[in-house]
Symmetry: C2
Subunit: 298 residues, 2 copies
């Protein structure tokens, strides 16, 4: 039995906490959370674990350290904790963007310390410890970053940890990770924010009550656009090169579509609208979504 330190106890940190407790994976679970609001929620919810005021006080007692803060917090925390880290510490994080954050980690982390980066695909539009769930990771993918310098012993332990959390694991380079998620996650989020913003601008200009009629499609985007702003700022900044390329590719596609509509290109539009249909059934076959019309909401 080992001790685990969770740094940052929001949606993901508190979900890990709940699952680690349930599976009895740790002797002691230490929690460091800097937000007073979250701390009082953790206490009120009577979540398991020992709240610590300074993470450095328990690093020597911890075998595994999991960073669950926004990525912009990493540098400051690493600089503070560096002298307490040893090469035996299993360190991981759950950040949604990898190349740039790993550069910052490698640049600031003390020599001979290993950091095995991971990314569980298990977000939500809600944040905070009150929304955490023991089974948040159940059946979901967790991507582990692997490169030439990866400490394979630590990698295997982190891989095994995520499997115990219920995840299916897959490994890839940070570059590949960031390319894939720029399209499957970062671009959709960015689009959702911008669509909702477009609706807000339009509503102001036209003085029409739009949201009343949002069930036509807008409501779906509003869910994603309600996600945590600090976390998403960090992702967009961290993965800005891939995200910019994704935006360009998307705008190109939009402009072509607009052209087709305006010149009423029947065949071209029908082809576009039909081809994209297949993706839905593939996604359902891959068990990435439920097979119910309207997500079973109606």
């Amino acid at each position: 039995m080992k001790n685990i330190l969770i740094i940052g106890c929001g949606l993901l940190g508190s979900s890990l906490l709940r699952k680690i407790k349930k599976k009895r994976l740790a002797n002691k679970i230490f929690i460091f959370e800097k937000s007073k609001k979250n701390l009082s929620k953790i206490k009120k919810l009577k979540l398991p674990g020992i709240i610590v005021k300074k993470p450095e006080d328990v690093i020597s007692q911890s075998n595994m350290i999991i960073f669950c803060t926004p990525m912009s917090e990493y540098k400051k925390l690493i600089l503070k904790l560096n002298k307490h880290f040893t090469s035996n510490h299993i360190i991981t994080d759950i950040g949604s963007s990898k190349s740039n954050s790993l550069k910052i980690i490698k640049k600031n982390l003390k020599k001979n310390i290993s950091w095995t980066s991971s990314h569980p695909i298990a977000g939500s539009e809600v944040s905070g410890p009150e929304h955490g769930k023991r089974d948040l990771f159940e059946g979901k993918w967790c991507v582990l970053i692997k490169d030439k310098k990866t400490n394979l012993k630590h990698f295997k332990l982190v891989d095994s940890f995520w499997k115990k959390m219920g995840s299916k694991t897959v490994s890839m380079s940070s570059e590949k990770h960031d390319k894939i998620f720029s399209i499957t996650s970062h671009l959709p989020h960015l689009i959702a924010y911008n669509l909702v913003k477009t609706a807000q601008i339009f509503e102001k200009r036209q003085k029409h009550n739009l949201l009343k009629f949002s069930a036509g499609g807008l409501r779906d985007f509003s869910r994603i656009a309600a996600s945590n702003e600090v976390m998403w700022r960090d992702i967009f900044f961290d993965n800005k090169v891939n995200v910019s390329q994704a935006i360009n590719l998307f705008i190109k596609s939009l402009n072509e579509f607009k052209k087709d509509i305006n010149s009423k290109k029947n065949k071209s539009i029908l082809k576009k609208l039909t081809q994209t249909k297949k993706v839905r059934s593939q996604i359902i076959k891959l068990k990435q979504d439920i097979n119910k019309p309207n997500f079973g909401r109606d």
Copy 2:
């Protein structure tokens, strides 16, 4: 007790059929459906109503006629049925775009015949009579188009009909309707199609398996992008002026966002990501969506 003729018996037509039967609103319900596939489904499902081979044969017996076909079918049908229409017929349709379709209707419809256009906000990504539901319209908005020439007697009857279907009704001009829905419905659908297409192009180019990781956001868009292609082609063509303006407004917003990311404009990005958050809670307050994280899927 009166007779109702439903022209086009897919998702919406068959939902009306089921509800009309349940509420015993008609003596006889006639169904005209040109697709053989849909016809065999209707028979297999043992849906209520009398299937007719030619709608013109039962127009004289029908008091109300509801067009539930794609909008591109209207003209041909009107030209065929014109000589059978009388000024007593209550005629409505459920098309999702109004200004242009009403121009076509008015241009082709025989003199002194009234047409009260309506738009129930109750779509889905699935189509066909097998997906119809008796309660599809329950608690949903139905927009009725009203202008100077509207026959008020017919308007009141159509309004009352939709209320019996379970809808809340609201009336507006076709211009206002098309502006509002270009933003709340047409733009989101168009974006969803183009995002999924962008993912397909990217997947081909990079040879990465994207869909496996679509739970990061892409899966939501894939639902909308699976909607009926003929219906949506008609909507995009019909409302192309407003839709083009909406695309331009949206691309402008995307380009500003990209600029902010690339120059790491912290305040500006945080402001954008925070402002859009409010919309979600407004939408939930307006009962346009369920109040469950991840639409309650996980």
